[in-house]
């Protein structure tokens, strides 16, 4: 890491590579302060309003063939539009009634659509091996992505063990 090219005192922490239309590359290396003085940093705090994102997402979603505005739960009477406005569902059954748009919403907010983890005891015993395998497979992917092959090998063996049991 070199020094800031502007003040030549502080560590350069800001690296900008600019490529113009004809493909010419120019590089700049500045410290935080100089980058700030040159107006290259966003001074305001980044704002991420989850509720707003969620709102925008729900209101722009169009379901394949299903008119979202006509979806209404036959048990609690809440419509998809009401849910969209208040952000809260009306009853557990809504998860099935609004399944299609909700699945996409869950994919966006959680990056997943399948529960992992605790299950009520009454339902637990039968499903445990499948859940363990699913969890281990995800951990295996992570280990491989992180190039932790020792851990990956252990996870692979554990998965085989469970699959053959």
């Amino acid at each position: 890491m070199g020094l800031c090219e502007r003040c030549k005192k502080a560590q350069a922490t800001f690296h900008l590579t600019n490529i113009d239309r004809s493909g010419n590359k120019t590089e700049r290396h500045l410290c935080d302060r100089c980058a700030g003085e040159e107006g290259l940093l966003h001074t305001g705090k980044p704002t991420l309003d989850v509720d707003e994102l969620l709102q925008n997402f729900i209101s722009t979603s169009k379901s394949g063939g299903v008119d979202l505005s006509s979806l209404v739960c036959d048990q609690c009477g809440i419509s998809y539009v009401e849910f969209r406005n208040q952000g809260l569902l009306g009853c557990p059954h809504d998860y099935d009634v609004f399944k299609e748009p909700l699945t996409r919403l869950l994919e966006r907010t959680h990056g997943a659509t399948q529960h992992e983890g605790k299950v009520p005891k009454s339902l637990d015993a039968a499903r445990k091996p499948q859940r363990d395998i699913r969890r281990l497979k995800r951990q295996l992917e992570e280990a491989v992505a992180g190039e932790d092959y020792e851990r990956a090998a252990k996870l692979r063996d554990r998965i085989r063990e469970l699959e053959n049991s």
């Binding site: 569902l89 009853c91 909700l102 990056g111 659509t113 983890g117 605790k118 299950v119 969890r135």
Partner: protein, 353 residues
Amino acid sequence: MSGPLDQVARQPGEWLRGTGPLHEIVISTRIRLARNIRGFPFLPRADVDTRREIVETVRSAVRRATLLKDHVCVDVDALDELDRTLLVERQLISRQHADGSGPRVVFFEPSEASGIMVNEEDHLRIQTMRSGLQIDAAWEQINALDDALEAHLDYAFHSQYGYLTACPTNVGTGIRVSVMLHLPALRLTNELEKVGQAARDMKLAVRGLHGEGTEALGDFFQISNQITLGRSEEEIIDDFRNVVIPKIVEYEQATRQALLKHRPHALDDKIWRAIGLLKNARLISSHEAMQYLSHVRMGLHVGRLDNIDLPTLNELFLQIQPAHLQKLHGERLTGEQRSIERAAFIRARLHTN
């Protein structure tokens, strides 16, 4: 002015005991689980009678669960505004629960280490709290409490989506792990934005003292998970225990050491000005007091002060809050009266110490 919660205001409360692993920086560890009962609508669709029925259903489950036999029940709907705020300041209920309407209660252990809000955003919000970084202890207890309740309640659970919640942002495990951190050095050196960015990269939220929508008072910040679906409780907890919290703690500690080494006078100035103000102010807001107490707390932990003890300081953080102050004073106070009383209270506590 007397009420059921008078005695509560005099206790230090679990989360500010100032003990536990990494307690110099990690104030408390809190876990909550969102649960709903099958057969009832979620709260937006629950009328007063339904809400009452939910309260009674949970009450009956709590009574039958021996693990919860010491939990006391407080009827939040029947409390006045002051007592509700007292519970919010102690983190036994949320601001949303305090400001809600209709039948709603909270069950909590006398030690305040665990509690169950009934009829907040979900039918049940179970929580456990520990001082310092004690994620495993908090998880073990909440997992056991959840099992004990489940033995007598039929939870709304979906094979694909897990525990069903009123807001889809909590569905799945329904878990929220919140770790409260005291980060005065990172704040003084304007490094907090980096912590915020790192937290966002890991899909974690950074909030102020009392959670959602609150500002960072006295350099206290809560870090909590956002993702509840697709990752198990253990995986979520592991991230906190092994990655996120140790990194932030190390960063704060390194920054404190750097300040001690390179800017000792600036650091001492912050600490001793804070002492001077707290020992001499005649009018002080809770916001201002929290900020100075924060600098004093840092002063203690970096070894620049030794004539103030930590328990006193920890009690002050809680007892200068508006509702606690009025409870301890024994009568309701206007804003200016509170500032006078708060200043006098702090002076008395710091001078006799």
